[in-house]
Amino acid sequence: MINKRPLIGIIDDDKIYKFMLTRIINDNKLAERIITFPDGEKAIQYLTDNSANNENIPDIIFLDVNMPIIDGWQFIEQYAILKTEIEKKIDIFMLSSSVNPIDIERATKISEISSYIVKPMKLEEVKKILID
């Protein structure tokens, strides 16, 4: 059975990284649509506004750790409260250039995070996530 291509959210303040990830996904036609946010606060705002609109809620979110205003960890905290109002299950992949074991350990303990991925993310990894 072939799944419908997913709606993807990218939350990252790094414009270059967003451009690259978008290009990888689009070149390989891995997404139905991509929505990007410059920081966690904007993303939370969007999810709150669209909580009743399932077709606007991303299936997958690539979440950066280091961001202004609300960083990746704080986004997860707020999302944990918000998710009861959202019907759709979102798979969140945390992306960071931090190889600090403390960060990785922390991420594995949070149930909302599907996986912690160290940047840069290879095309194979993106494909694996989006096709599975």
Binding site: D14, I16, Y17, F19, M20, R23, P38, D39, N66, P68, I69, I70, Q74, S97, S98, V99, N100, K119, P120
Partner: protein
């Protein structure tokens, strides 16, 4: 009476010396003990020697001028100490008591003298003196040892202080290192990995326009990377420059200079900037750092002012626990410290969507302050304002 005392026998067996002399000093009789003291025979002594013959030159003078005179005046004299020179040249310390014997008309007939051997007592005296000297030496030594202990205690205290200072320095270094590791991981690794991916895209792309677009992105990353590296180099330079000279400066003069530099921004923002450095107007501090600290904090306060009210920014100094403190207070946007407190002083961390936000200022400010041995803390409430408190250094 069976026990009839033989006075001649008693006289000769007396345990102290006795002699009788004419007014001119010639000894005309003596008991055996006295003869024993002199080392001469009775024949060599009686009618031949005078008492002064057994004295050194110095004691002869004393004998003539003091002893004889006193005897003549009082008729008696007691416990005068002489060093009696025996025939073999050895000396015998003695005490002499003398009394003049006169006839009914008061004419001096002869002098009777008793001579006590005090060599034993002299020896004790000598020993006492030596013991006293030793005790004095010991006491001196004790004082010296005590002084040495005191100075060692002082040294240990000083070393303890130095160790504490060193420890503080190490802790600072450690913190700086861990913040450096954090920076290397976040601020360097991200752009480098971006460059790698962009270069992959570039290699795979066949379209010239697409290649040019990718290249322009590479340039953006390189610029950003270069900026980050320069900031890091600057911070390492500051940390390595612990021996930077501390200039005598007044807060007023540096503040005035800051106002001039930020004149346009202050005018545009209509911010009301005030100061009061009367509590502690002067400090010895690297002038460059003070200028940079004031510039960063003032421009921060102006940049993050609230759009809903006129910005009020106040600089002042105070002294607390003998530490000179600079306080910068504003009524701006404030920062949620619960969320952002831990990364407030990190490199490239910003908390407001502001076009000028680069997140360098506070990072550098903190490094400068800590390199001089101070610290910076912040209190803030969202939409109320922010107060930075900088412990600059100890008041000398």
């Amino acid at each position: 009476m069976n026990n009839k005392i033989d006075y001649k026998e008693l006289y000769n067996s007396l345990p102290s010396g006795y002699f009788c002399s004419l007014p001119n000093g010639t000894i005309i009789d003596s008991n055996n003990k006295f003869i024993e003291h002199t080392g001469y025979t009775r024949e060599e002594l009686i009618d031949k020697k005078k008492f002064v013959d057994f004295l050194s030159l110095g004691e002869q003078i004393y004998f003539e001028n003091v002893y004889s005179l006193a005897l003549k005046l009082n008729g008696t004299i007691e416990e005068i100490n002489f060093n009696f020179i025996k025939k073999d040249g050895t000396k015998l310390p003695v005490l002499v008591n003398s009394v003049e014997v006169k006839d009914k008309e008061g004419v001096h007939l002869f002098t009777q003298s008793v001579v006590f051997n005090i060599s034993q007592r002299k020896k004790y005296e000598q020993e006492l003196l030596i013991a006293k000297r030793k005790a004095n030496d010991l006491s001196d030594e004790l004082i010296n040892v005590n002084n040495e202990l005191l100075s060692q205690t002082e040294l240990i205290l000083k070393q303890k202080l130095q160790l504490e200072e060193f420890n503080q320095h190490l802790e600072n270094k450690n913190r700086q290192l861990s913040s450096f590791a954090h920076i290397a991981s976040h601020n360097l690794r991200a752009p480098v990995s971006n460059l790698l991916t962009l270069s992959d895209f570039y290699k795979e792309s066949t379209d010239i326009e697409d290649k040019a677009m990718l290249f322009s992105k590479v340039e953006i990353v390189i610029d950003h990377l270069n900026e980050t590296l320069n900031e890091l180099i600057e911070s390492v330079k500051i940390q390595g420059n612990k021996d930077i000279t501390h200039d005598p400066i007044t807060f007023e003069s540096v503040f005035d200079k800051t106002l001039v530099i930020l004149g346009a921004q202050i005018l545009d923002s209509k911010a009301v900037v005030t100061s009061n450095f009367s509590e502690i107007p002067k400090i010895e501090y690297p002038k460059l750092y003070m200028e940079s600290i004031m510039l960063n904090l003032l421009s921060n306060s102006i940049r993050y002012r609230s759009p809903d009210r006129i910005a009020k920014i106040h600089f002042c100094t105070e002294i607390n626990n003998n530490e000179i403190i600079l306080i910068v207070k504003d009524n701006g946007l404030g920062i949620d410290l619960k969320k952002h407190g831990h990364k407030l002083f990190g490199l490239n961390n910003t908390f407001h969507r502001h076009p000028d936000s680069k997140g360098v200022g506070l990072f550098m400010t903190k490094i400068q302050i800590e390199t001089i041995g101070g610290s910076i803390t912040v209190e803030s409430e969202v939409d109320k304002g922010t107060t930075f408190k900088i412990i600059l250094k100890k008041n000398m």
